[in-house]
């Protein structure tokens, strides 16, 4: 039995094929423009009433109550090796579902939803504006700007 369900799980979580187009929710981490598959995004909010967690890793901003669920808020800037995100009017939490757990990514600012063609996505360079390339699935070039497509699961994986 267990086997069967595992199979299901693998299928649902396996990456959707990197072909066709994908809608990206884009946002700024500091000055860098990043994007993420919009289907990964659960919601975006501006709840900043966090509870600090002493002794937590430095990139953990705190925890907050999202309709009865405890969500860990992560400073995406720090997590990606940039400076910490300044909390102001424009900063937002992007709540993503990673590994059956809700995690909030604190970003500086939310931008548009962009439709990206996988064909045009280029593999990530080793370094994108100071951020490690391994956190990205690729780079999408638009006429006027570059969007680094974040690999949310990679970013949130425990070992880094």
């Amino acid at each position: 039995m267990a086997k069967v369900t595992q199979h299901h799980a693998i299928q649902t979580s396996s990456d959707r094929k990197n072909d066709g187009t994908v809608e990206l929710a884009t946002f700024y981490v500091g000055s860098a423009l990043c994007g993420m598959d919009i289907l990964k995004v659960q919601e975006i909010n501006k709840l900043m009433e966090m509870t600090k967690v002493p002794q937590a890793p430095t990139y953990v901003m705190g925890i907050l109550n999202l309709r009865g669920q405890i969500v860990t808020i992560i400073d995406l800037g720090k997590k990606l090796g940039l400076t910490e995100i300044e909390i102001n009017e424009s900063s937002r939490n992007i709540i993503v579902n990673s590994d059956n757990e809700y995690i909030g990514l604190l970003v500086s600012r939310i931008s548009d939803v962009v439709e990206a063609d996988w064909q045009k996505v280029e593999p990530p360079p080793a370094n994108i504006g100071g951020m490690q390339g391994i956190f990205f699935k690729g780079v999408f070039k638009m006429e006027d700007r570059l969007i680094g497509i974040l690999d949310a699961d990679r970013v949130l994986a425990e070992d880094n």
Binding site: Y59, I103, L156
Partner: protein, 1130 residues
């Protein structure tokens, strides 16, 4: 493989696991019963195996099918009493059921697993039995065929499917299974006799009825269903030769799958009336009487069928298997394996035979009627493994549905009133929602509750197997299986409990010979008990084994470097025993397969800690061990104390909470001490290590400025530091930075408190949450204490898993999140071990204990006076009574003072008769203090006021010493003389003692015994020694246990008795005694303990250490007597 579809397989699996859940314990019971077979039980197991087999055949799970088939064969034999379920046979069955379980776990691959060993083992059992049994029955077969009822071969060799050869055995002449035949030799059916007999006692008649479907029913225009219905109305169908389903469920045109139905029918209808019901030929109805013979309706014995050549049995495989296996049999293409393959050619021609498995009928019937309640009824026999699905009673679900409905309604109401700004309406709706939520919570909790029996049920097997392996005899009793706990806890408690039970068997219970030697019941007892108490579930595991030796444990712990020797010395027995929870501790001298890998108890404790449970051990050497576990009912919602530190709220689970302590500002310096790096608080004579929450978790501690009311960062380095810059303790650099506004220089209070502690403001009080985690207790210093609340535990995200200080998070009423503290991990983070704080704390604790010990060396004294200004004291425990008398009551006769007392004459005396003290005060009202000396009562005349008090005996034995006065002691600022009653009486009435002495002299003649006397108080030493020397003993004095031990070793040959004080420095009396008693040579020495106060507890403890007798220090007469007695005995 023909796995039909997931759903079917899943259902099969669930069902089979349910069947398997109980099978283990049933096997054990079967084993226990031995030859005295409980057929119901065997049938139950048989049925279980059969159902599993049926389904397996249908699913194409050949391995499972084969295995169950073999099991079924053995069970069949057991049921037929052809095989006695010996432990060896049960062993094979048990291991087969284990294999079955593991096959079930990986059911998809089960066919690829090699189970030939199991099958072989099972077959071997059958074969071994077949041989011996065949021989046995061959002799008995002739008489066995005498009568129908007795002679039937109840269980012909249940031919293992592949081999058509069946031994000629049959006919166990035990008559327990009834095989019923019609006079024409037609086998009707066979029954378990036990199923039948109860009806006789109920005054019912039992009939064997034959009804041909065509001839008796259809020909008369009836249908089978109505016939059955009529029968059910007048009686009870006990057995039938077809699959009997609940009549109400039958289709109107239902036909039995046999041409002629045979019933065993119990009814109150008399033989003369019975045929009214059936309207058939009288020959087709036979009465079964209590002698188990069949009679015709006219009362004559039914002709005994020759039985030797009955027509071959009709193969009944089809109805049988369909009854047992899932109903899907009928619809699936794959035909069910002929589950019980009756192979006509295999049937022996000699003797009677009949359908292959006579019990099958019964089985079918029961199975059919049981199948309804069976499923939910068995749900408690859940598995030990983590379950992914849970059975919930429908009524509970309905209740949840209703509540959910109400919740929705209330929500609508709330939204509506909010929309229309109806404040009152929202309030009402809010209240409703409040109520519904509570109910909902309760109902949902109930769905998660499972009985602890799920865990307990696996222990009989564990204990049995282990005991067998270790060659011990152990009996396990279970109590409180019905106690319900949250599913999560049930699952998590399994492993720790198993460990404890295994420990009890492995380490606790001694081998049989050892037990016998110790005069114990050779069968060790383990008692497992669960019960509710104070909103928690308690689980007790006790054994009557060898118990835990605290000293051994402590020395082991020292050896392993887990604690220091000093720490070990000052620990209580309980603390010592609880050392086994320290990581890396294992007392097993040998590492056995079972336990003793050194990772035992600390893992148990860690697991229980995670559950919010508390574990405690109580043990007595030689008597046994009791382990108590306290568990919360549920983990999801727990009551918590909310505290605030650094502006954030934290929740501390109430289970860990001992008490809340608020130390007023003014007392902080008095009650808090800084030892080494640790703060400790004095709490009722104990020292409690303190931890500042803010320090461990690294949060900022806040305090409320008493003047401004603002919260400020607390910059003190330690609790004892003062915030004020005037504090002499404050460090230099802090002085400059301290906020002047905090405590203005000019404030009046400041002035008045100058020089003292100026923590005068209530907000400066210290808030301490005293928490405990099993063996450890400490104080957590927090900024503020808030309410206690019921909180819902929510897990923390993976990024926070490494923060050990938190057990989870919860959402507070205002929607914000608060962290739940894990107090045991906090203690670890703070470096507190289970052993009280730091070494320095231990030192201080030792001082405290010394004080307590000094307190114990106290003597109860009776204070009285002779003259108004002269106070005397006598040991209270020598005093029999105190009487108030009038001076006129005293009679002066023969130069002596006496008085009438209780029908006799009581001699009276005054102290001044012997000692040069002031004469008795001249007053009317006198007191007579009655003592018993040398077996006689004697009264001391005195005056009041009398008082009893416990005084620390700092007795001066020289200054005021004189005949009749032992010495003096200061009581309440006045010098009090201690009266030596015995000496006085001896002086006054020497003749009272003469007989005693002469008798003793005779005994002692030739050898003057040497007494080793250990006593730390020099007063008592000289007192007691004096009386011993007077008796003619040689006395070796020792100031403490260590000296005594040395003296004993030096004078081993001379010493013939040891008298020791209990409370002594360096080595106490208990230890000394234990050392003596454990020594091969000295162990024969009698040991008498001297104490000032002999409490029950002390006596018990002393007895355990090996102390032979207890005597009170100042009761010299009894002491001497005891010495004599023990010398005589030795």
């Amino acid at each position: 493989m023909a796995i039909q579809d997931d759903e079917t397989l899943r259902m099969y699996l669930e069902e089979s696991l349910e069947h398997l859940a109980d099978i283990e314990n049933d096997f054990l019971t079967i084993e226990e019963n031995g030859a005295n077979i409980n057929e119901d039980l065997v049938n139950k197991v048989y049925r279980a195996a059969h159902s599993i087999k049926g389904g397996a055949g249908f699913m194409g799970l050949t391995n499972i099918k084969d295995l169950t088939h073999e099991m079924e064969n053995i069970l069949g034999k057991i049921r037929a009493r052809e095989m006695v379920p010996t432990p060896d046979i049960v062993n094979v069955l048990l291991s087969a059921s284990d294999t079955l379980k593991s096959l079930m776990k990986d059911i998809l691959n089960s066919n690829d697993i090699d189970i030939s060993d199991q099958i072989k083992a099972l077959k071997a059992v059958l074969e071994a039995n077949g041989k011996s049994h065949g021989k046995a029955t061959a002799k008995n077969s002739a008489p066995a065929k005498e009568k129908e009822k007795a002679a039937k071969p109840v269980q012909p060799e249940p031919a293992p499917a592949p081999s058509p050869v069946v031994s000629a055995s049959a006919s166990p002449a035990n008559g327990q299974t009834l095989a019923l035949f019609f006079p024409d030799g037609q086998p009707a059916l066979s029954m378990d006799a036990k199923k039948v007999t109860p009806y006789f006692t109920q005054g019912k008649f039992i009939y064997l009825v034959k009804m041909e479907v065509t001839g008796h029913i259809q020909a008369k225009g009836k249908n089978c269903k109505t016939v059955l219905e009529e029968m059910e109305q007048t009686g009870l169908i006990i057995g039938a030769n077809f699959t009997l389903q609940p009549v109400a469920e039958l289709a109107a045109d239902w036909l039995p799958d046999v041409p002629a139905m045979f019933f065993l029918f119990a009814t109150i209808l008399k033989p003369s009336d019975i045929n009214v019901l059936f309207e058939i030929e009288d020959e087709d109805i036979l009465e079964l009487r209590s002698d188990l013979n069949l009679y015709k309706l006219n009362g004559t014995l039914a002709p005994v069928s020759d039985g030797a050549t009955p027509p071959p049995a009709k193969p009944q495989a089809a109805p049988k298997s369909s009854a047992v296996a899932t109903p899907k049999h009928t619809v699936v293409a794959m035909p069910p394996e002929p589950v019980v393959s009756p192979e006509p050619e295999a049937v022996p021609t000699e003797l009677v035979e009949e359908d292959e498995e006579p019990g099958e009928q019964t089985v079918s019937v029961v199975q059919a009627s049981d199948s309804g309640p069976d499923a939910p009824g068995d749900k408690k026999g859940g598995k030990f493994e983590h379950e992914t699905s849970l059975r919930v009673h429908v009524s509970l679900l309905d209740q949840l549905m209703t509540l959910a409905g109400e919740l929705v309604l209330s929500r609508n109401q709330l939204l509506q009133s909010m929309g229309s700004n109806d404040k009152r309406g929202s309030e009402v709706a809010g209240q409703r929602i409040d109520l519904i939520t509570s109910e909902l919570q309760e109902a949902i909790m109930l769905t998660r509750m499972q009985s602890i029996g799920n865990v307990f049920n696996k222990f009989p097997r564990v204990v049995r197997d282990l005991a067998r392996m270790l060659g011990k005899q152990v009996e396990l009793s279970l109590e409180g299986k019905d106690v319900e706990l949250d599913k999560t806890i049930i699952e998590a408690i399994g492993d720790p409990l198993t460990h404890l039970v295994r420990n009890a068997v492995d380490h606790g219970i001694e081998p049989t010979e050892v037990r016998k030697k110790a005069g114990k019941n050779p069968v060790g007892q383990i008692f497992l008990r669960a019960y509710h108490e104070a909103g928690q579930v308690n689980i007790e595991i006790s054994d009557d084994g060898k118990g835990l030796d605290g000293y051994k444990i402590a020395s082991k712990a020292v050896e392993k470097g887990l604690i220091t020797e000093e720490q070990a010395k000052i620990m209580s027995t309980r603390e010592r025993i609880n050392l086994i929870f320290l990581p890396g501790f294992s007392t097993a001298e040998k590492v056995t397969e079972v336990s003793g890998r050194g990772v035992g108890m600390d893992v148990v404790k860690t697991n229980l800690d995670m559950l919010g449970g508390i574990i405690d051990i109580d043990s007595e050497v030689g008597k046994g061990t009791t382990i108590r576990i306290k568990l919360p009912l549920t983990l999801a919602i727990i009551p918590c104390q909310i505290v605030v530190t650094g502006g954030e709220r934290y929740a501390i689970p109430q289970v860990n909470l001992e008490e809340l302590l608020r130390i007023p500002a003014a007392q902080v310096s008095k009650r808090i001490e800084r030892v080494g790096n640790a703060d400790v608080v004095r709490l009722r004579g104990n020292l409690l290590p303190l931890i500042r929450l803010a320090d461990i978790i690294g949060a900022d501690s806040h305090y409320v400025d008493p003047e401004s009311g603002e919260a400020k960062n607390d910059r003190r380095k330690s609790i004892l530091d003062r915030r004020s810059k005037q504090s002499p303790l404050i460090s230099r650099d802090e002085k400059g930075t301290e906020d002047d506004a905090c405590q203005p220089e000019g404030s009046g209070k400041s002035h008045s408190d100058r020089g003292g502690d100026r923590r005068y403001h209530s907000a400066s009080a210290l808030n301490i949450v005293v928490v405990s985690t099993g063996s450890m207790k400490y104080g957590l210093v927090v900024d503020q204490l808030q309410d206690s609340e019921e909180i819902v535990v929510k897990p923390l995200g993976r990024d926070l898993k490494k923060c050990k200080g938190y057990a989870g998070a919860t959402i507070m009423g205002d929607g914000r999140v608060a962290l739940i503290l894990d107090v045991s991990n906090l203690a670890q983070m703070a470096g507190l071990s289970t052993v009280e704080g730091s070494a320095r704390a231990a030192e201080v604790a030792e001082k405290e204990r010394a004080a307590v010990r000094a307190g114990r060396d106290r003597q109860s004294l009776l204070l009285f006076r002779g003259a108004v200004d002269e106070q005397f004291a006598a040991p209270l425990n020598l005093v029999e009574r105190i009487e108030k008398i009038n001076r006129a009551d005293i009679e002066h006769l023969g130069g002596k003072q006496v008085m009438q007392y209780r029908g006799g004459t009581l001699p009276l005396f005054t102290i001044d008769q012997v000692a040069s003290v002031k004469p008795l005060a001249d007053q009317e009202n006198l007191l007579v203090i009655v003592f018993v000396v040398a077996g006689r009562e004697i009264g001391l005349l005195a005056i009041g006021p009398v008082d009893a008090l416990e005084a620390s005996l700092n007795i001066d034995g020289t200054t005021l010493r004189q005949t009749g006065i032992m010495g003096s002691v200061i009581v309440n600022n006045s010098t009090t003389q201690l009266v030596d009653i015995v000496e006085i009486v001896q002086t006054l009435n020497p003749e009272w003692f003469k007989k005693e002495e002469s008798k003793k002299k005779k005994e002692e003649e030739g050898k003057s015994a040497t007494i080793l006397f250990a006593e730390d108080s020099s007063f008592f030493r000289s007192q007691v020694k004096g009386s011993m020397v007077k008796e003619g003993f040689e006395v070796l004095e020792a100031e403490d246990g260590v000296i005594a031990w040395d003296l004993l070793q030096q004078n081993a040959e001379n010493v013939s008795i040891v008298v020791t004080d209990i409370e002594m420095p360096n080595m106490d009396g208990f230890t000394l005694t234990r050392k003596i008693k454990e020594h091969p040579i000295y162990s024969r020495l009698p040991v008498i303990a001297l104490t000032t106060l002999a409490g029950e507890e002390d006596i018990a403890r002393g007895k355990a250490a090996g102390i032979d007798d207890y005597q009170i220090k100042l009761d010299r007469e009894r002491l001497i007597k005891s010495i004599h007695d023990h010398l005589k005995a030795a």
